[in-house]
Amino acid sequence: MPKMTLNHFEATLIFALLISIVLGVVTKRTDQERLQYGIKSFGYFLLTVFGLGWLMYFGHR
């Protein structure tokens, strides 16, 4: 099995993307709703990542 090294941001991004896809597929009923929910969920994940990232940056100064 090849070894892979991801940094924090890459790992979080992939994690958020896959979670958004799965949640969109299982929770909504139409394709349109699924797509919208997936994009919205991914956007919220990104916002949280950047928000917490800045929070930790200022917390460590």
Partner: protein, 149 residues
């Protein structure tokens, strides 16, 4: 009039939560079992091909990334309460990937590396793959029992 409307909307809401009676186990149990063993297969059985393919792909990608990041696979361990919860919960999460878990164990694909952030993420990815499959199993169950389209 207002109270009548409120009452009607309340009744409608309650109506929404009433599920149809559970069909015989023979109708949904094979779907649930197959869904657990092979991620996405339950949806294929129910002719939800695209949904099954997306779920199977997500579980597989998450699992493979976890393995490649040299994530750790949990074994049930007893001790203090927190240790028991984490290790047993992690073990159940790993097991939920079905055949992926068994193949990894049988063929020795899981080679945890020395502790580090990548290994830590890998461990979480492996458990998350199992949790994705749990969501897929529940989805397949709801479709098989007629609770979802």
């Amino acid at each position: 009039m207002l109270s009548l409307k409120t009452g009607m909307s309340k009744a409608k809401k309650e109506e929404k939560h009433v599920y149809p009676p559970l069909p015989p186990a023979g109708k949904w149990l094979p779907v649930v079992a197959v869904s657990w063993l092979v991620p996405g297969a339950g949806h294929f059985m129910l002719k939800r091909t695209y949904r099954g393919a997306i779920l199977a792909g997500s579980v597989l990608v998450m699992f493979l990334l976890g393995l490649m990041m040299r994530g750790y696979m949990f074994e049930p361990m007893s001790g203090d309460l927190l240790t028991t919860i984490i290790y047993t919960g992690g073990f159940i999460g790993n097991m939920a990937t079905g055949v992926l878990y068994f193949m990894t164990k049988w063929f020795g694909y899981n080679q945890p590396d020395i502790a580090g952030h990548t290994v830590d993420y890998g461990t979480k990815f492996l458990v998350a793959a199992g949790l994705f499959n749990v969501l897929a199993i529940v989805d397949a169950f709801e479709i098989a029992t007629g609770r979802k389209d």
